[in-house]
């Protein structure tokens, strides 16, 4: 996001350097992407529009109806909620840590965030089930079950997803908060601005490119998550990843196997739509960087 200006000057001024062989270093990655991302994409596209050997849009149509549509919308709803709430709470937590005078607290929170942002899958589900599940330690100790508490619904899942999303936001936003120079705040004060006016006119606009990036990252993480949800809620909360797994394991009508591929394509399109909103916003918010 900050790179373009540097890249442009380098390529404009250093004519000799553009002929270097440095692009060779990217070959392994690009080859890997083509193999592991490109080939499946071709298979998805090919399979989605085929039913019983003939070209057909039936799979796509079916993937946007009934339970499949509910699952798709459920995933979008859950991911959007986790992205927005996670970004907000993560940013507040990061700001609290960055402005704290306790060096140790900062180190502790950043280390914990680094670990927890990578916490996922079955182990995460187990940790929550053991703690706040129907027979969880805290559920029993506090008698939450008799109060109607359940972890195995939409809000429970959102809570668990936030458990790795908030730390991820902290990791993303701390460098940006560290980059806010104290002189900017003092210069704003010197010009008569109060704290809120500083944040409104300077702090938040400077952070916006990072915050937007964080929201998209959190959305993507929640949207693609599968194992935690599968272990926790099985089929009780409709999610598109659970439906795909269902379809892959043969839990569909005969001849409708390719619906899983159509659902995958739906996911790619939704991710594309998110990027279509994100990129112009990002470009607009970062125009002072170019």
């Amino acid at each position: 996001m900050t790179a373009p200006s540097a890249v442009r000057t380098a390529s404009a001024s250093g004519g000799g350097r553009t002929k270097s062989k440095s692009w060779l270093a990217t070959v392994p990655l690009l080859a890997f992407v083509i193999l592991i991302f490109g080939v499946p994409l071709v298979i998805i596209l090919g399979g989605t529009f085929k039913r019983e050997g003939a070209f057909s849009a039936a799979n796509i149509t079916e993937s946007l109806q009934g339970a499949y549509l509910t699952a798709l919308l459920g995933s979008v709803k859950l991911s959007a909620l986790v992205a927005v709430v996670g970004a907000l709470l993560g940013t507040f937590l990061a700001q609290a840590v960055v402005t704290s005078r306790f060096r140790l607290l900062r180190e502790a929170v950043l280390t914990a965030s680094g670990v927890l942002s990578n916490f996922g899958g079955i182990p995460l589900a187990f940790a929550w089930i053991a703690t706040l599940g129907n027979s969880g330690v805290i559920t029993k100790a506090l008698g939450l079950d008799s109060a109607g508490w359940s972890l195995y619904n939409f809000w429970g899942l959102a809570l668990v997803y936030l458990y790795f999303s908030i730390p991820l936001m902290v990791v993303v936003v701390v460098p940006a908060l560290d980059g806010l120079r104290p002189q900017w705040r003092e210069a704003a004060q010197n010009n008569g601005a109060n704290t809120w006016q500083f944040w409104r006119h300077v702090g938040i606009p400077v952070l916006t490119p990072t915050l937007l990036g964080g929201v998209v990252l959190l959305f993507g993480g929640a949207f693609a998550a599968y194992a935690t949800a599968a272990a926790m809620v099985g089929g009780t909360v409709p999610l598109v990843t659970l439906q795909i797994a269902n379809a892959l394991s043969g839990n569909v009508l005969i001849g409708h196997e390719n619906v899983a591929l159509a659902l995958s394509l739906d996911m790619i399109i939704i991710a594309g739509l998110v990027m279509a909103v994100y990129l112009p916003l990002q470009r607009r918010s970062a125009r002072w960087l170019r």
Binding site: R181, E186, A187, A188, Q189, N190, V202, V206
Partner: protein, 361 residues
């Protein structure tokens, strides 16, 4: 616009046990440019920040036109400030940076843009209103910061080493411009710097600080010619420390007897403080002085002269450096005028850093 009178009264400020300000008293007259000069850690920046409101003194008061503003929050004070560097808001273009204070005060856009343009013309950059800070050179950024500091027509201008991050040429031209603007606006200005040349060339008066206290405040010529203490003498300009001996109210040094300026230390053996330009050299093959190193500076040359077991620095006109080349025997004479003395430190070297070898002519 009329500058305000600023008074610092007994300012004290401690940072985890270290006193940054230790009872600082200073009065800055209306419309005056005063430079706060001193080594790092002397408290000059802390004093400035107390006036800006970014620092609260533990004791003492800041008065502007007789009104105590010590507890007034920074955003309610009538003082514009220019920071060391990188203080422009990166997300706002130059025009919006300059007009920031007006925007906060809800001045309509057309009016504040007109004012911003007026200020950009004042600083000689009328065409850069649409650019972002990272597209400007360091000198331009500091000019814009100056325009922003002046936008609200403050009665006090605070400059916190605004030139220290700039290269030498820009520094000189910008300091002249700041002075010109300050004089034409008549704004009371406090200028923090560790660069004595900057302080001497710009300020009406220079306040030399040391360990949070005022060492001397005087106009530049007085400060240079009649430093009140050995610390000021050695901090401002270059000084030789030459061993001497008190004889009555005079001091014997290098075979001459000179009157003593200021206090006499208790001991008869003293260091006599002598400016390099007060050391006169005449080539003389019989004399016991010898030029060791010559460092040419254009209009002048600074020579390092061996004299028995001591060395002294002497400034001579640049064109004299040829006949006073290294190896030349010279007679050393001191200009007849009162000198400062301090208790002997035992050191016999000049107060400045040694002249590097590659400067040899």
């Amino acid at each position: 616009m009329n500058g305000a009178k600023v008074e610092l009264r007994g300012l004290r400020r401690n940072f985890s046990g270290t006193a940054a300000l230790d009872g600082l008293d200073l009065t800055i007259e209306s419309g005056e440019l005063i430079a706060l000069l001193g080594p790092s850690g002397c408290g000059k920046t802390t004093a400035l920040r107390c006036v800006a409101g970014f620092e609260q003194p533990d004791e003492g008061a800041v008065l502007v036109d007789g009104k105590d503003i010590t507890r007034v929050p920074a955003n309610k004070r009538d003082a514009g400030m220019v920071f060391q560097s990188y203080s422009l808001f990166p997300n706002l273009n130059v025009r919006d940076n300059v007009a920031f204070g007006l925007r906060v005060r809800k001045v309509p856009a057309t009016k504040r843009h007109a004012r911003a343009q007026e200020l950009l013309e004042l600083i000689g950059l009328p065409h850069i209103g649409g650019r972002f800070p990272h597209q400007l050179s360091g000198g331009q950024q500091q000019r814009v910061a100056l325009a922003r500091a002046l936008a609200l027509e403050p009665r006090v201008l605070l400059l916190d080493e605004p030139l220290s991050a700039l290269d030498a040429k820009v520094r000189v031209s910008l300091r002249e411009e700041i002075r010109r603007l300050q004089l034409s606006l008549g704004i009371t200005t406090i200028f923090v710097t560790h660069d004595q040349e900057e302080a001497l060339s710009m300020a009406d008066r220079v306040a030399v600080l040391r360990a949070g206290r005022l060492e001397q405040v005087a106009d530049p010529a007085t400060l240079y010619d009649r430093p009140a203490t050995p610390f000021v003498a050695e901090f401002v300009g270059t000084m030789n420390r030459v061993p001497g001996r008190i004889e009555g109210d005079q001091v014997a040094v290098l075979g001459q007897t000179l009157p003593v300026d200021g206090d006499l230390p208790g001991t008869p053996d003293v260091d006599v403080l002598i400016r390099p330009e007060a050391v006169l050299l005449t080539p003389d093959s019989e004399a016991d002085g010898m030029v060791l190193v010559s460092s040419f500076r254009g209009s002048t040359a600074q020579l390092r002269v061996q004299l028995g077991d001591i060395e002294v620095l002497a400034d001579v006109p640049g064109h004299d450096s040829v006949r006073l080349a290294p190896g030349t025997r010279v007679r050393v004479k001191l200009v007849e005028r009162p000198v400062l003395v301090s208790a002997s430190s035992g050191a016999t070297t000049p107060a400045t850093a040694p002249v590097p070898e590659h400067d040899v002519v």
